[in-house]
């Protein structure tokens, strides 16, 4: 233990011996870690936004459909409203909210324009805590129940259709008997979403109204489920599959493969950037330590001649490197923390909103620092940094004492 104390003191003094040199490498390490953490937070904010968006738009964590619905999302592939064992699972502890919906392709027409949309019949109360539509209405009111005769449309779609609150739109769709039915709905509310593509894609009506006009009886197209604990996804899907014999139960990761792929891509980018930054820092660190060691050749030789074992010299250089690394890491982490605190209201991308949408981003990105990313970044720097310092450390211990002392 006493040796450790001695070594640490020696290392600390050596760091302070040339303050400017230590400060410079410290800046390099701090800036490196800062950029790693900032980039990780930005990328994580983006990929979490993608998956949150995928889950919260309409998908939920898990969906149940009739077997062929996902391949052919038409009125033909409806299923009975959940009952029996499935109902039991849905009403169980693990579920935060669930809702059954009618969801079919449709065409919506105002007096002036026509657009293709997905008609979603919902019970608005059940969407609470499940999908964005529960509190997305910006003008007018939300649907008041499954039997509400009105329709909710997106802000962007309202512009495109040149319609507004109180006006009527006609929705045409294929009914269960294959005839094309049309039904007029008064626009009771206009909703806003993160992305204009969502506002263009979905119109919402009461579920009973949809079932009535499409001749579905009380059959539905899908059941969407929000879990209390998203990490219990796989277990829940298993249970639901057992309970819902003959139906198709899918987790959101399978329903939204793009979101999954984007998250994976984001993770890969984080690792790549970590690696590049680490290399950039490692050159400086090794170089600095090497200088520190080489200019002490005589002193180190003397220490060895006095009986200090080479192993202790290696340890001393490694401690010296750890001191530099830790100080740099601390400064970098504080800096990153401050930057992210400044950006806690998000990075506003609305000037490039359409571009952001192309990359699957919302108009505002909230940098999110995952504990895993922080630990990984710091471990990366400290462990690999210590590894890189092995070379100067071993060099320091290699000199034969006499040769080292006598050499100028």
């Amino acid at each position: 233990m006493a040796t450790w104390a001695l070594i640490s003191r020696l290392a600390w003094r050596n760091v302070l011996r040339n303050r400017r040199r230590s400060a410079i490498i410290l800046v390099a390490i701090a800036a490196g870690l800062w950029s790693m953490l900032f980039f990780a937070a930005f990328t994580r904010g983006w990929s979490e936004d993608v998956s949150r968006h995928a889950v919260a738009t309409l998908t939920g964590h898990v969906q149940v459909h009739a077997p062929d619905y996902l391949r052919d999302p038409s009125v033909d592939h409806a299923m009975p409203a959940p009952e029996g064992a499935l109902r039991g699972v849905l009403d169980g502890e693990a579920v935060a909210a669930w809702a059954s919906r009618v969801r079919v392709p449709a065409v919506v027409m105002s007096e002036r324009e026509t657009a293709g949309v997905t008609l979603v019949g919902i019970d608005p109360k059940r969407e609470q805590g499940l999908s964005f539509v529960a509190d997305a209405v910006r003008e007018g009111r939300n649907l008041e129940g499954a039997a509400d005769p009105g329709i909710l449309i997106g802000r962007k779609l309202a512009e495109r259709l040149e319609t507004g609150l109180g006006k009527r739109v006609v929705v045409m769709s294929q009914a269960a008997d294959h005839s094309v039915v049309d039904r007029g709905y008064p626009v009771v509310g206009i909703y806003a979403a993160d992305r204009s593509s969502t506002e263009m894609a979905f119109v919402f009506v009461g579920r009973d109204a949809a079932q009535g006009s499409l001749g579905l009886g009380d059959r539905v197209s899908e059941v969407a489920v929000a879990l209390r604990d998203p990490s219990g996804l796989d277990a829940f899907v298993e249970r639901a599959r057992t309970a819902a014999a003959g139906l198709d139960v899918q987790p959101w990761t399978a329903l939204e493969p793009m979101a999954e792929a984007m998250v994976a891509l984001g993770q890969a980018w984080i690792w790549m950037f970590y690696f590049v930054m680490y290399i950039a820092m490692a050159f400086g660190l090794v170089n600095t330590l090497l200088m520190a060691v080489l200019e002490r050749t005589r002193e180190l030789g003397l220490l060895q001649a006095l009986g200090m074992r080479p192993r202790l010299i290696v340890r001393q250089v490694l401690v010296e490197s750890s001191v530099l690394l830790s100080a740099g890491v601390l400064a970098g982490a504080l800096l990153a923390g401050a930057t992210l605190a400044l950006l806690r209201d998000g990075i506003d991308l609305s000037a490039l909103a359409e571009g952001a949408e192309m990359w699957g981003m919302s108009k505002v990105i909230y940098p999110t620092l995952g504990a895993g990313d922080v630990v990984a970044a710091i471990a990366f720097i400290v462990v690999l940094g210590a590894l890189a310092s092995l070379y100067p450390a071993l060099r320091a211990a290699r000199k034969v004492p006499v040769e080292a002392i006598t050499r100028g």
């Binding site: 040339n18 400017r20 040199r21 410079i24 490498i25 800046v27 390099a28 800036a31 490196g32 950029s35 980039f39 391949r71 052919d72 999302p73 038409s74 392709p105 449709a106 065409v107 002036r112 324009e113 026509t114 293709g116 045409m172 769709s173 294929q174 294959h178 094309v180 493969p257 793009m258 999954e260 792929a261 984007m262 994976a264 891509l265 950037f273 590049v276 930054m277 290399i279 950039a280 820092m281 050159f283 400086g284 660190l285 090794v286 170089n287 600095t288 090497l290 200088m291 080489l294 200019e295 991308l349 490039l352 909103a353 359409e354 571009g355 952001a356 949408e357 192309m358 990359w359 981003m361």
Partner: protein
């Protein structure tokens, strides 16, 4: 003073430069390990910048090329306001004559006319909404990849036939197969009902999920008859001989149609604003990362510059005492730093070209999901593009910033006093 003395002075100054360079070069190899590490750091940053910029440029070019090539074209002529609010009644009158005028503009490679509307399409068992596009079968293949991406059947052949090609996903949703009939129900330009029955002759897979899900192409004449359009069209689509000259050609095209009222000339970046912005956003994130990288590498090597001066304080003191000017010492130190940097740049540039060249040959697959790439208009493999920009911008940035860093220890040399310096440890 004689000409001879002048001559001697000139010779003196020449040999001084030579001496300075020789000194600098020797000083570099006095501590070869440090030199190698420093060169490696500069080379690494340069290589990464060359490669990444080349990769970005290759990726962007591929995105633009495929987005523009599928359907949009380089330039479009439309009725004023059609782009913001595409409505059936916002048409270009006498499109044929207009297209002929545009085709005569130098730099224009191909021209075609299109009309577009939204309608209900029904197969025997299903009904969906879809975008109906009227195209000219003869000229469309030069402007769009869709005619070439027909996977079943054939593309439209006759300008007047009542036939259609349908996107793969839409065909599947409609449970529609080749040879079956498709009924189209929409609203004509005059407000009357537009109805047509068409034979499905082809099913295409464009690679763009949006188009495959929502598009039906029919002959322009058939479209005009069905939707009561006369000889009007919604857009005249232009392909230029060279994407980089689009702006010049667009100006010439605008001049050629200056006589017609209410015609807007739009280039691809106005037509595909999302793509343009997406590229800007990605490039901005890229620049942020490169800036940090250059900053960190600069601080990584700053110690080398600093130590090169600090460890020689005594030597410099002696030289100063012997009458060497501080300016000369400064130049030697600067030459040393520049040699170091140029060496690093050269190695980095070489590596960057090598890596980019290799990657340019094999291509880089950077995401596993083809659907994801398709959404970004990216092909499965991206090929880095080495051009003047990607070869110069990274190395120049590295050189500029690190040279600034190299100036920092120079201040110290200027401040040296011979006696104090000689006493230094």
């Amino acid at each position: 003073v004689t000409a001879g003395a002048d001559d001697a002075r000139r010779r003196g100054s020449i040999s001084r430069t030579g001496l300075g360079l020789r000194l600098a070069w020797r000083n570099l190899w006095r501590n070869p390990r440090r030199t190698v590490l420093t060169v490696a750091a500069v080379a690494f940053a340069t290589m990464i910048l060359v490669f990444m910029v080349a990769l970005q440029r290759g990726g962007y070019a591929a995105m633009i090329e495929s987005a523009v090539g599928v359907f949009t074209g380089h330039i479009q002529l439309q009725a004023e306001g059609y782009h913001d609010e595409p409505r059936l009644e916002k048409t270009l009158a006498d499109a044929g004559a207009l297209a002929e005028r545009v085709a005569a503009v130098p730099g224009v490679e191909a021209v075609t006319s299109r009309a577009e509307s939204y309608a209900l399409v029904s197969s025997p068992s299903r009904t969906y909404g879809a975008a109906i596009v009227g195209i000219e079968p003869e000229s469309e293949p030069a402007l769009s990849t869709i005619p070439r991406s027909v996977r079943e059947g054939r593309f439209l052949a006759s300008p007047t036939a009542t036939e259609a090609v349908v996107g793969r996903t839409l065909a599947r949703n409609l449970s529609l197969s080749l040879g079956e009939e498709l009924t189209l129900l929409g609203q004509g330009r005059d407000g009357t009902l537009a109805v047509a029955t068409l034979e499905v002759v082809g099913i295409f897979e464009s690679g763009s999920p949006d188009l495959d899900r929502s598009m039906v192409e029919i002959p322009l004449r058939t479209f005009q008859d069905t939707f009561a359009m006369g000889d009007r069209a919604h857009s005249i689509v232009v392909r230029t001989t060279d994407l980089s000259r689009v702006d010049d050609v667009a100006r010439a095209v605008a001049a050629s149609v200056a006589g017609s009222d209410g015609v807007a000339v739009l280039t691809w970046d106005q037509l595909l604003e999302g793509l343009k912005q997406g590229i800007t956003l990605d490039a901005t994130v890229g620049w942020f990362l490169y800036t940090v990288l250059v900053f960190v590498v600069t601080f990584s090597i700053l110690n080398t510059f600093l130590m090169a001066v600090l460890e020689r304080t005594r030597e410099f003191g002696v030289l100063l005492a012997l009458g060497t000017r501080a300016g000369f010492l400064g130049s030697v130190v600067m030459a040393e730093s520049l040699l170091l940097l140029l060496l690093g740049l050269a190695v980095g540039l070489g590596l960057g070209i090598g890596v980019s060249g290799l990657a340019g040959h094999y291509g880089i697959a950077f995401a596993s999901s083809e659907e994801l790439l398709a959404q970004w208009n990216l092909p499965a493999r991206i090929y880095p593009r080495l051009d003047l920009f990607s070869l110069t911008v990274g190395p120049l940035a590295v050189l500029a910033v690190t040279t600034l860093a190299a100036l920092f220890p120079l201040v110290r040399v200027r401040r040296l006093r011979p006696v104090d310096a000689m006493k230094a440890a």
